[in-house]
């Protein structure tokens, strides 16, 4: 590792990165809430409020979090809910991390304003994931014991409320509804929005609904006397209905919009929800989802379907992507368009299945044997999971090549309120050969590198698709000329394709630039915005098209830039190394990188940027 890329350790102190860099956090807090953050306030307002609802599995915190988010959305706010849980499938500790805001949010804040625990069993394990400070309010149920030392030590305001007893006093009601009322009231979510969210989600008897609405009201009433929580500035009711969607659902919808009608996949955390959403959705549009026996089968099944003319996709995570590698190479060689969505998680090997990390990048851009050009895309937000997956289908179909989409657990399993996406239906367009085309050659060396594809069933143009190197006609060949010709063709079709302006999000024109990708984009963007308010100007480049990288476009995006900081969530500075391997970044490029499982936070990044600029 070059010495330019060692910033993560000195700056953040290893794993303490989220809470470390006190300077950065302070700046962030001040920027976010004004100087009020330093006073001892009674009730202040904020443009963003962060609430952690924690409890052991089965305590209903995820339901309460979802309802809080949907109630806030009804009241005109945006929001994000990140799910976090221990390694147990059921019964372990769980927390819904909810951030509500006046503007769209795709990242968690540096600290939580409220930690509300239904019980304290093992919740101390979330200390890193739920950073709190002295300005935070921590509410626990006195009947569930004392708050863990790790939270008390923060100096946060400790409050006791008998959640369980309150629920017991209202027969048929649940503790999580009391908690929802309490958290909602403290965040400033109006009663009618909370009630509407509960009513809408209710699938049980009307008696139990009445009891739980009473529990909700009791929870709201119990907020009286709790000081120090910021409440939200009232939201603006939108003209058009906003959407509440997870990254996995958005990717699934994008795939279907792009024209995918066949999916084969093997269950794997954290990609499974994408497949579970797609299974019934595909049925509605005449498509099929097939659960395969393993990832080797899934990738070869989608290659078979796509060879048959039907746009096809699979979704997986790192271990599955490893198994699919040979198949993706086959798709390169046989020129069969496929889309592989990799919802990244901590690696290597089984790694950390339910936590996010951007560490499959190197593998996605490099990990095939032979010279095997492929497309690699990364959505930059939950909403962008839709557009980018749709684009991946279009690109794969247009270039007859495999496309890998790098989503991750953070985007995939989190749910956000987003602007209503525009109705862009773009059925994939593949260059298809006509029946009885004279002198048809499947792998003809065309100017664009893309050759018309014969679809089985079409008379007069039969061919054999092959993973063996082949001649233009598709006949296996180990001839020098054929190998060079086909290698050139497969590279050329990706290099010559017009990717337009979507290759990256480029924002600002400052001389100092930060480059990032994927889910880190949201945290970086928020850090850049906070620093801009401080007078620190930065240019942001979030690369969406990672392969083939567009060096000329990157050059243009970085015109006038004298210094570059590359920001990413992995241990190996993978984007930094990759960009430098293909591009001469201006000045002395630096890297800020650290691995999962904790998501990058805006304050941490703001602090890193300030430290970098000061050098």
């Amino acid at each position: 590792m070059s010495e330019q890329s060692t910033m993560s350790r000195p700056l953040a102190g290893g794993n303490a990165a989220v809470t470390g860099g006190a300077c950065g956090v302070d700046i962030a807090m001040c920027l976010e809430r004004g100087m009020a953050a330093k006073a001892a306030p009674a009730r202040r307002t904020a443009s963003s409020v962060s609430v952690a609802l924690a409890g052991s599995g089965g305590s209903g915190v995820m339901t309460a979090g979802t309802l809080l988010l949907s109630a806030a959305a009804k009241a005109g706010w945006y929001g994000l809910m990140v799910r976090t849980s221990g390694p147990q499938i059921r019964g372990g500790e769980a927390a819904a991390l909810v951030r509500l805001s006046r503007t769209p949010v795709d990242t968690l804040d540096d600290r939580f304003d409220l930690l509300l625990a239904i019980d304290w069993r093992n919740i101390n394990r979330f200390a890193d994931e739920i950073p709190i400070g002295a300005s935070c309010v921590v509410i626990g149920d006195p009947d569930e014991g004392e708050a863990p030392e790790v939270y008390k030590a923060t100096g946060a305001r400790m409050v006791a409320r008998p959640l369980k007893k309150t629920a017991k006093g209202i027969p048929g009601s649940w503790t999580n509804m009391v908690a929802l009322g309490l958290a909602g009231a403290l965040a400033g979510v109006p009663r009618d929005a909370l009630e509407a969210a509960v009513r809408e989600s209710w699938k049980r008897s009307s008696d139990s609904l009445a009891a739980n609405l009473a529990a909700l009201a009791a929870g709201m009433a119990s907020a009286a006397g709790i000081e120090g929580m910021p409440t939200l500035v009232p939201g603006d009711a939108p003209d058009v209905k906003r959407w509440l969607i997870s990254g996995n659902e958005a990717a699934g919808l994008g795939a279907i919009r792009g024209g995918v009608r066949f999916v084969a996949a093997y269950p794997i955390t954290p990609a499974t929800e994408m497949l579970e959403w797609m299974a019934p959705a595909l049925t509605k549009v005449g498509g099929t989802l097939l659960q395969a026996e393993d990832e080797l089968a899934s990738v070869n099944m989608i290659i078979g379907a796509s060879y048959g003319g039907v746009p096809a996709l699979t979704a997986t995570a790192g271990p599955g992507l490893s198994l699919m590698t040979e198949g993706i190479g086959l798709a390169c060689s046989a020129e069969v368009p496929i889309v592989v969505v990799d919802v990244m998680r901590g690696g290597p090997s089984t790694g950390i299945p339910a936590k996010s990390e951007q560490s499959d990048l190197s593998f996605a851009v490099n990990g095939l044997h032979g010279d095997a050009p492929r497309i690699v895309l990364a959505p930059t937000s939950i909403a962008d999971c839709l557009a980018t997956t749709q684009w991946a289908v279009e690109l794969a179909e247009a270039t007859q090549a495999p496309a890998i989409v790098l989503s991750d657990q953070f985007m995939g399993q989190s749910r956000a309120v987003i602007e209503r996406p525009s109705d862009v239906a773009s059925p994939a367009r593949r260059l298809v050969a006509k029946a009885n085309a004279p002198d048809y050659k499947r792998y003809r060396d065309t100017g664009s590198g893309v050759s018309p594809m014969a679809i089985p069933g079409t008379p007069g143009i039969v061919y054999t698709a092959d993973g063996l190197e082949h001649s233009e006609a598709g006949i296996p060949s180990s001839q020098v000329r054929d190998h060079r010709l086909q290698l050139d063709k497969r590279e050329r079709k990706l290099m010559l394709h017009d990717y337009g302006s979507r290759w990256a999000d480029v924002e600002g024109g400052a001389e100092c630039a930060v480059i990032t990708f994927g889910s880190s984009t949201a945290a970086v963007r928020e850090a850049v915005a906070r620093l801009a308010e401080e007078g620190v100007k930065l240019r942001l480049v979030a690369v969406r098209l990672l392969a083939p990288l567009a060096p000329a476009k990157l050059d243009q995006a970085l015109r006038g830039v004298t210094r570059v900081l590359v920001i990413e969530q992995n241990h190996g500075a993978q984007l930094f190394r990759y960009l430098r391997s293909l591009h001469n970044l201006p000045g002395t490029p630096a890297s800020f990188h650290r691995p999962g499982p904790l998501p990058l936070r805006p304050g941490e990044i703001a602090s890193a940027i300030l430290e970098w600029r000061g050098r």
Binding site: G286, G304, A305, V310, A334, P456, V462, L468
Partner: protein, 285 residues
């Protein structure tokens, strides 16, 4: 599934279809005396018997001597990676049920590296025809033991033999739920053609094990000509009877040993074709 599924339904070849209609102009590169020449001839004869035009057939294979068959036919071909032919064929057939899909494999490709897909293809019962040219050896890599090789067969890679009990493909196919189980011998090309044609016509997953000698690495397999014989029992749809027969026979019985009545996958194909834009409604607040 999409437009492509129906785009050529009216198309047909005007000249009458004979086995020659299904042969490509490429000369096979198998060793002289290889059983796979006869299998190729049986496959093209079977296609002619079934009468589906070549462009409506896809021949899918993996890697190995047997897997070279697709390019030697005039059908659509797919020569994929080692062991995954059944997966590719499954995706193709489920996405394009209008096509006739024949999968060609060998004992290494199909029973070793592709063994898991074999089990699940039998269970899944997609309407495929799976022929495995079994010569009890890896021929393309020049003579290593395969799952069906005798335990004491000496080779450079496994000196003195593997000591492993051979895999019994027919028993495993039956136990895993294959809807059609047959054995054929390449030395009887007409009989093999009849069996393949019957396998293609039979709904669901049809498995045909074809004894196909490798005269290069297993010259003793020339004796199979004397050993192979038609089965003494007729086809049954009773898996218990089929199992008893298959487990106790001498391994050289040929014929259709089991033809079941399971409905092929997918059991119901939805006709519903909502507009894609209707999907978004569930996300609107």
């Amino acid at each position: 599934m999409n437009d492509v599924a129906t785009m050529n339904k009216g198309a047909s070849c005007s000249p009458p279809l004979t086995h020659a209609s299904y042969k490509s102009s490429y000369k096979p590169i198998w060793c002289p005396g290889c059983g796979d020449y006869s299998v190729l001839s049986s496959v093209t004869k079977a296609f002619a018997k079934v009468g589906v035009p070549p462009h409506r057939i896809a021949v899918v294979s993996g890697i190995g001597c047997s897997s070279r068959i697709p390019a030697y036919t005039s059908c659509y071909g797919f020569h994929g990676v080692h062991g995954r032919s059944l997966a590719a064929a499954t995706g193709l057939k489920v996405a394009r049920p209008d096509l006739t899909v024949l999968v060609a494999s060998g004992d290494g490709d199909g029973y070793s590296i592709g063994g898991n897909h074999f089990l699940h293809a039998c269970r899944r019962n997609v309407d495929l025809t799976y022929i495995v040219m079994d010569n009890h050896v890896y021929g393309m890599t020049k003579g290593q033991p395969s799952p069906t090789t005798e335990p004491d067969w000496d080779s450079k890679l496994s000196p003195g033999g593997t000591g492993l009990r051979p895999f019994h493909p027919l028993v495993i196919a039956l136990a895993s739920g294959a809807n059609f189980v047959a054995r054929a011998f390449s030395g009887d090309p007409n009989g093999t053609a009849d069996i393949i044609a019957e396998a293609i016509r039979h709904p669901g997953f049809s498995f045909v094990e074809i004894l196909s000698p490798c005269v290069t690495f297993r010259p003793e397999q020339r004796e199979w000509k004397q050993l192979a014989h038609p089965a003494q029992v007729g086809t049954t749809d009773d898996p218990a009877r089929a199992a008893r027969y298959i487990m106790t026979d001498d391994g050289f019985n040929t014929g259709v040993l089991y033809a079941g009545r399971r409905a092929p996958y997918p059991l119901d194909r939805p006709d519903a074709r909502d507009d894609v834009t209707t999907l978004k409604e569930e996300f609107a607040l």
